[in-house]
């Protein structure tokens, strides 16, 4: 992967998000971590992210609610759900709301990196397509 995506990890389990941040950072990704859906929404307002890793079961605002809010304000962001709580209903909700992928914890690091890379490529391709339609003469970025 030539350019590295900027990733936001959203998980109420502090140790999980901090270590995951360090691991992804060691692989060259730019990572920030927050502990709730509300903090995630604030963080997204202030900075441009490519991929979000989002937990589902969090106090105050669940991952599904956070996803719905994120997709309203940042429709181009790719959201990967990373949860310990597998449920078909939640998975269906997430896909309906535009979530990109649904991963069950514990997820091997290499698999997670693959998903992040694919999500990032998808986002870049979509943005390029949108630019191509809007401004055909400008060529690739």
């Amino acid at each position: 992967m030539a350019a590295k995506p900027k990733v936001l990890v959203v998980d109420d389990e502090e140790r999980f998000r901090v270590t995951l941040g360090k691991l992804l950072g060691a692989r060259g990704l730019e990572v920030r971590t927050v502990g709730s859906g509300r903090e995630a929404l604030q963080e997204l307002d202030s900075d441009g992210y490519d991929v979000i890793l989002l937990d589902v079961k969090m106090p105050e605002m669940s991952g599904v609610e956070a996803l719905a809010a994120i997709k309203k304000t940042h429709p181009n962001l790719e959201v990967i759900i990373l949860t310990g709580h597998a449920s078909v209903d939640v998975a269906v909700d997430i896909m309906r709301l535009g979530g990109y992928e649904y991963l069950l914890k514990p997820c091997p690091l290499e698999e997670l990196l693959d998903k992040i890379e694919t999500a990032y490529e998808r986002k870049v391709a979509r943005e390029a397509r949108a630019r191509g339609v809007a401004q055909p003469p400008e060529g690739p970025s």
């Binding site: 140790r15 270590t19 597998a86 078909v88 914890k105 514990p106």
Partner: protein, 314 residues
């Protein structure tokens, strides 16, 4: 087995005696007594046969009732254990994820240290690898448990059972032949049509074929049989020449986590998953076993019309 209601009919067993006594009295009275006794004796024989038939019907109904009760208890037990264990699996996934990540992070730090930790570095790495392996083992268990509890709606379509079974047989045959285990096929022609969820049935067949080869370990035969059943359904039988299942374990083999394999070799979830699948498909799975001689698992797939009513029944 005790047959409920049988005691109420005991007096009828003696009906022919009453009839014979009645006939003898009639004969003794004379006159038209002989004719009356013939009629009474004929009636007695007819009554005796009817009572016997009735008793057989009651016994069969009671046995069927008892069998359905056992099936229901087993299904309810599995459903409640499934629910409980999936709840636990969810809760365990989060700490497992943290453990897995910490292992990855220590690996990263050790990589950066590049031999600077002295002679114990090798042992440390080995220890770390073992922790990672055990986390992976727990992960497999929790994910299997969640698969077990997940209620996917079966996708019902027409299935060629002989072909489905043969596909699975080929999958296990190569490894089985390495241990000198032979697969014998007895596929019946002209099986009734089967409408079921093929991937789910494949999972069940593969599971019992694997169990059969594991039970034999080395040198033996696995016989695979497909047959039309009396009720219009189809049966798949897998018999092995393995060690058999001891009597005291036979009631437990479908319970989650029950395994006779050594630790780390089996999760004990395979057969409970098979039982759950067959329940959802409106069929059942049963076993016969003789210690030292082998085990036969039979998968009963319901007839097409029953499958339909099972679906409509929810």
């Amino acid at each position: 087995m005790d047959v409920p209601g049988r005691s109420h009919w005991l007096w009828l067993d003696y009906l022919p005696c009453w009839v014979m006594i009645g006939s003898a009295v009639a004969l003794w009275v004379g006159g038209q007594g002989f004719l009356i006794s013939l009629v009474l004796a004929g009636g007695g024989v007819w009554a005796m046969l009817s009572v016997r038939r009735l008793q057989d019907e009651i016994r069969r109904a009671a046995e069927q009732h008892c069998f359905l009760d056992q099936q229901l208890i087993q299904s309810q037990k599995l459903a409640s254990i499934g629910e409980l264990s999936s709840g636990i699996a969810h809760e365990i996934n989060n700490p497992l994820a943290i453990m897995g990540q910490e292992v990855e992070w220590i690996r990263h730090l050790l990589g950066e240290a590049e031999g600077g930790l002295g002679p114990s570095e090798g042992e440390l790495k080995d220890s770390l690898q073992e922790i990672g392996r055990q986390v992976e083992r727990c992960r497999e268990i929790t994910h299997k448990l969640l698969d077990f509890a997940r209620k996917k709606e079966p996708l019902i379509q027409s299935v060629d059972i002989n072909r489905l079974v043969e596909d699975m047989a080929r999958l296990v045959e190569r490894e089985a032949s390495l241990n000198n285990i032979r697969l014998e096929r007895h596929y019946s022609d002209g099986l009734p049509p089967v409408y079921t969820d093929a991937p789910l049935v494949r999972q069940v067949v593969l599971n019992i074929l694997n169990n059969a080869t594991h039970a034999i370990q080395k040198d033996g035969t696995v016989a695979i049989l497909t047959l039309a059943e009396g009720d219009g359904g189809v049966g798949i039988q897998v018999s092995d020449t393995g060690c058999g299942i001891p009597k005291e374990y036979r009631d437990k083999v479908f319970d989650p986590f029950f395994t006779t394999k050594p630790p780390g070799k089996g999760t004990g979830l395979g057969l409970s998953i098979c039982h759950g699948i067959m329940d959802r498909l409106g069929g059942r799975i049963s076993l016969e076993s003789e210690e030292g001689r082998g085990t036969t698992f039979t998968v009963h797939l319901p007839p097409a019309n029953q499958r339909e009513s099972h679906d409509h029944g929810g």
